[in-house]
């Protein structure tokens, strides 16, 4: 066994727990997970069947964590994990899985297949069998502070532009602020309107907030590549900043996996509960709405639909909040056929967008979303994840569609009641 394989097997052994064992014990090869996977549905290739992507992990479970498997491996009957196997599975584990969790929702025996993919990636990366794109992103995240290489300098430049344009002050490193606002690299680079929207809404709501100069980045490449060691370091930066600035709530931005990384994995990565709340921006905005601190005027006249970002909705639990917020600003809102917890992924989540080799595959996977869009024919497509947004735009461009994609937070900011009208 090569050192790589040994590390992979060791990582698999660390990851497998009672739930993994129950899942593998229960699979009957019914194939229904394939019917929930857009990579299979759009390619028709059975190798993309979700449960099949877990073969390496399954082998370690069987030979190490079942009595009968242990006995079988003693006499050499248990199939082994090899370096070739891991190499072959790289595409299945990374390129063709956006960790959207739809398979986990439909599996009749209740297997959380996506959760197991997350575990399997720990072993894949331990053996080095991860896509270069994700390795690079992780490296930049650790060394520069952002997977896209966005530096503090770039953030400051954006803040400067914003302050100059709007006359507002963007709080940075303000101790005692209620909210610590995080951003994703994409928002800093491609969608500066997010930060402006936050500034305006929070001002209108009278909420104190701040950005941390040493923890502005919300994304977590460690989660995507499956390296808890890296993910922990990245989460720790946010936790350290939040604790230093004594904020009550840390807000994850319009980004899918960042929310999972912070809210659901974060405390477990650092091994203790957070002393602050971790919330998604939509949750905070919905609280503002409920408290009457978020008031809007006017409506989007266009026929509008909402693309649910998987990590926020299905795997995050923020399902009703976006809909209540959309109702504030949209008159002609139409749901796509499968929505909410049963939505279809854009095709580029879970790190797929950062994998160059997966470029064609993710655009094929987008066809699922295209069919959904073709069915409701919206004039505008709203979402709440920068990564989804880029994939949707790229996918539509490739397939000759022309539907503007907008973010929910910025749309709310556009319809924000001006202070004058709010008072009146």
């Amino acid at each position: 066994m090569s050192a790589n394989v040994e590390r992979a097997v060791n990582a698999f052994k660390e990851q497998i727990d009672a739930s993994t064992a129950a899942f593998f014990s229960s699979c009957v090869h019914c194939g229904l997970c394939a019917e929930a996977c857009l990579f299979y549905l759009e390619t028709g290739d059975p190798k993309y069947t979700p449960i099949h992507k877990l073969e390496p992990l399954r082998r370690v479970w069987w030979s190490s964590y079942t009595l009968f498997g242990r006995l079988a491996s003693l006499i050499g009957l248990a199939p082994k994990v090899t370096d070739d196997l891991l190499k072959d599975w790289k595409e299945l584990v990374y390129d063709s899985c956006s960790m959207c969790g739809r398979c986990s929702m439909v599996c009749p025996v209740g297997n959380d297949i996506t959760g197991m993919i997350r575990k399997e990636r720990e072993g894949m990366i331990a053996a080095g069998h991860a896509p270069d794109g994700l390795k690079g992103a992780s490296s930049r995240a650790i060394k520069i502070g952002s997977p896209m290489g966005v530096t503090l300098k770039a953030v400051k430049a954006q803040i400067g532009h914003l302050e100059a344009d709007t006359g507002m002050t963007i709080p940075v490193n303000v101790e005692g602020a209620e909210y610590l606002v995080l951003m994703s690299s994409m928002e800093i680079m491609n969608y500066p309107e997010y930060l402006e929207a936050i500034a305006r809404i929070f001002e209108a709501a009278g909420a104190s907030w701040t950005i941390a100069s040493d923890a502005f980045e919300a994304t977590n490449s460690g989660i995507q590549i499956g390296a808890s060691d890296i993910a922990r370091e990245l989460v720790m930066r946010i936790v350290a900043a939040a604790e230093r600035l004594k904020v009550k709530t840390v807000i994850s931005p319009e980004c899918g996996h960042a929310y999972t990384a912070l809210r659901w994995e974060g405390p477990n990565l650092i091994g203790r509960p957070f002393p602050f709340k971790a919330r998604h921006i939509l949750e905070v905005l919905d609280e503002f709405r409920a408290d009457g601190r978020l008031q809007t005027e006017g409506f989007e006249e266009d026929r509008l639909t909402f693309h649910d970002p998987c990590q926020i909705v299905r795997r995050g639990g923020v399902i009703d909040e976006p809909r209540r917020l959309i109702d504030m600003v949209a008159k002609d809102f139409v749901e796509m056929d499968d929505n909410g917890r049963y939505n279809w992924c854009c095709g580029a989540g879970g790190g797929v967008s950062a994998i160059e080799e997966a470029h064609d595959l993710k655009l094929t996977a987008f066809l699922k979303k295209k069919k959904q869009l073709d069915a409701v024919k919206p004039e505008k497509l709203m979402t709440a994840c920068a990564n989804c947004r880029i994939q949707l735009e790229e996918g539509m461009e490739e397939t000759g569609m022309d539907i503007p994609v907008i973010g929910l937070t910025e749309t709310l900011a556009e319809h924000l009641k001006t202070p004058e009208t709010a008072k009146g």
């Binding site: 929930a36 009749p108 049963y342």
Partner: protein
């Protein structure tokens, strides 16, 4: 060995052996899963996972509508098989007598024509399931010995049971002996095959239901 000797053997010593392997095997596999444990979850839950877990243990029995549309054969045949099989297994009076002997308690049964019908449904569904497995690209791709063996192990008790009930092919004692033998084969191999899902699926559903539930997602 006469048919009656054979029947006495299958009702006697062989059943004892099969029962030991079945029960001990089940216990081993169940306990070794539970003992493996899970790490404490430090994340702040949106709501308790326990109730959601319990709910998912049952809710996953019904398919999501999209799955039903995309894979109707798998869903419907699977459903019909499970219902037919469980009715036959659990509500046929002679079977209940057997359960009573092992468990110490019984329950009311159904008239035999209903059991007969349920058994036929289960068998027809099993044939459909098998054809589906051979034709569906995903299922064919996933399937191996570990999938076809349990099919056979499940089908044999159904067909032999039906033949006993209708007194076909062989005299009653011989056929009943074969039926019991086929059940014993099923029991003996049960803990070593995917047939374990009969019990672990509820554990799996609980874990997933609880994990989704604490995030606020009903699964």
């Amino acid at each position: 060995m006469t048919a009656v000797d054979f029947l006495a053997f299958t009702r006697g010593p062989l059943f004892d052996v099969a029962l030991i392997i079945f029960i001990a095997g089940l216990a081993i596999r169940f306990v070794e899963i539970l003992v493996l444990g899970r790490r404490r979850d430090f994340s702040e839950p949106r709501r308790g996972g326990f109730g959601s877990g319990l709910r998912t243990m049952f809710s996953r029995t019904l398919p999501e509508t999209g799955t039903m549309k995309r894979a109707p054969t798998t869903v419907v045949a699977g459903w019909v098989f499970h219902i037919g099989f469980l009715v036959t297994l659990l509500l046929f009076v002679p079977h209940i007598e057997m359960f009573q002997a092992v468990l110490g308690f019984g329950w009311p049964g159904l008239p035999t024509p209903i059991i007969d019908f349920a058994g036929i449904l289960a068998m027809v569904a099993m044939v459909v399931v098998l054809i589906n497995r051979l034709r569906n690209p995903v299922m064919r791709f996933l399937s191996g010995f570990g999938d076809y063996l349990p099919w056979l192990l499940t089908f044999l008790p159904l067909i032999t049971g039906w033949l006993v009930f209708h007194r076909l092919l062989l005299p009653y004692p011989a056929m009943l002996g074969l039926h019991i033998l086929s059940v014993e084969l099923l029991m003996i191999l049960f803990p070593f095959t995917k047939l374990m899902h009969t019990f672990t699926a509820f554990l799996a559903r609980y874990y997933t239901g609880a994990a989704f539930g604490r995030k606020g997602v009903q699964s």
